[in-house]
Symmetry: C2
Subunit: 297 residues, 2 copies
């Protein structure tokens, strides 16, 4: 019989994850700050809890998928929560957070015998729904080994194991989001100079995404950047992208690693916020290069 | 019977190209400023010319593959050369040059009835030898259509057509080299911050190159950057990489398109030159992020 799973956080990634957990046949208990979101899941057999601790009480594995460190700590850096996860239980932490937060949570939970596994995820909502996401995991070895097959069942087309340090997977996740933002800025500058030379933005990315830059990042984000439409099919809102780049710079600052390219990408996001683009996809950071070159309206 | 081909420039890309032309059964005439390089080709049936004009005289298609605009113009922005290419002949220009140079050459050749097709190539020497390079072409339509099948025969696994403007393919080539340099800097900063957090550089790129950044750029350059070895298997020397980034900035300046990321990449290359690294592969621009973070010796 399948282990019981709890899920805290029913945002754009949490909802498809919840659907997958139910479809995979796991008993599921959910909690969301706005309970309305949970109702469709209750119709499909999920139990709605009235608090995070209640989720933990009823579940062997408690997954959290929240928008930032503040929210995650408010929910899980709590003695009652860790107590309810308790000995034998495992907190699977899938949010994109600071490595320091992961270390803090793992240490806190250990005091209650509760396990902590970092499992941040790469994938936009559609990829998670299709169980085509990529997940990096790290944390205590036994807990990690228990968590990996569950992740394969509910969300991952592949899992990459970064060992015992609970913060390692979050380092990787932030590094990856940084590299995605960097690719967006590169595409933006490349397409802008091409456009000003009479070469089609789409023709440029069509070639690169089929050849030297084959892969989902250049193909999918490249199309958005070529068309310069950033307020449709918003998969990851701009303020969240800025939050992540700030986490990257915070992480880099903590270890004295200058990251001028991360500073540049973060600056594009700050400027987009200044211009009221908080409802855009974060790919909209790419609009800055065109604005600088006078090619936008 | 195969059309006669001429080749001017027997550098790291020209030599494998010459081998391929001979292997494909084309009559080949070659010229190189240092004639010694041509001797092995003569043994395989190539004719060695004593001047570029002599190459043009004996060939329907004249390929040039030289290291910079200065060399190319010295050879081909010459009335005698264009005369010998003449009506019906086509200059296939495969060097990485400024778009402005391409326009200048096309205009000059047109005065002599000679065709000009831009055909810059993406690929390191091994890829060219294996006929796995990618080529972008542009230029007058009839000449372009004659050139494409030849390129497929001798070097290209795929050809991307950018239309009538003789400079368009060079815009694409420079944009692509810029995006490669940008990816190198992104990998450098990502791996450096990961390393300082105890996460292996190789483990990081192993995941990304297999998932979100699948493709030759991140896989191949990523391995070099992970190992931080830049003076072995040098496929494209650092001064040539700097030359290309300078061409990118020149192109951007001509159309008033600010490219802060290109400035950053160029700065890394300039710094590498200042430190005597002219014999490194241009991927060595990635060493800068580690030096800034104090992780290198």
């Amino acid at each position: 019989m399948n282990e019981s799973i709890g899920l805290i956080g029913l945002g754009s990634l949490g909802m498809p994850l919840a659907e997958n957990i139910l479809a995979a046949g796991y008993p599921l208990t959910v909690y969301n700050r706005t309970p309305d979101k949970a109702k469709p899941l209750a119709d499909k057999g999920a139990t709605i809890a009235s608090s995070p601790a209640e989720v933990a009480q009823g579940s062997r594995f408690v997954i959290t998928l929240l928008s930032d460190d503040v929210a995650l700590k408010a929910v899980t850096l709590q003695d009652e929560f860790a107590q309810q996860v308790g000995a034998g239980g495992i907190h699977i932490s899938m949010s994109t957070i600071a490595p320091q937060t992961a270390r803090q949570l793992a240490d806190h939970h250990a005091g209650f015998g509760a396990g902590y596994v970092a499992a941040p995820v790469f994938g936009r909502p559609a990829a998670l729904a299709a169980k085509q996401a990529w997940v990096c995991v790290s944390g205590e070895a036994k807990a990690r080994e228990l968590v990996k097959p569950i992740l394969s069942d509910i969300v991952a087309q592949g899992i990459y194991d970064f060992g015992d340090d609970p913060s390692a997977a979050n380092v990787v996740k932030l590094a990856g989001n940084f590299m995605i933002g960097a690719a967006m800025e590169a595409m933006a500058e490349a397409m802008t100079v091409a456009e000003k030379n009479g070469v089609s933005r789409q023709a440029l990315i069509d070639m690169f995404a089929a050849t030297i830059f084959a892969g989902p990042i250049y193909r999918n984000y490249g199309s958005m950047i070529a068309r310069q439409v950033y307020d449709e099919n918003v998969g990851f809102r701009l303020p969240l992208g800025l939050k992540d780049m700030n986490l990257v710079l915070q992480m880099a600052g903590e270890v004295n690693a200058p990251m001028p390219l991360a500073q540049l990408v973060q600056g594009r996001l700050v400027s987009a916020m200044a211009k009221g683009r908080e409802n855009w996809d974060w790919t909209g950071l790419a609009y800055g290069a065109g604005e600088d070159a006078g090619t936008t309206n």
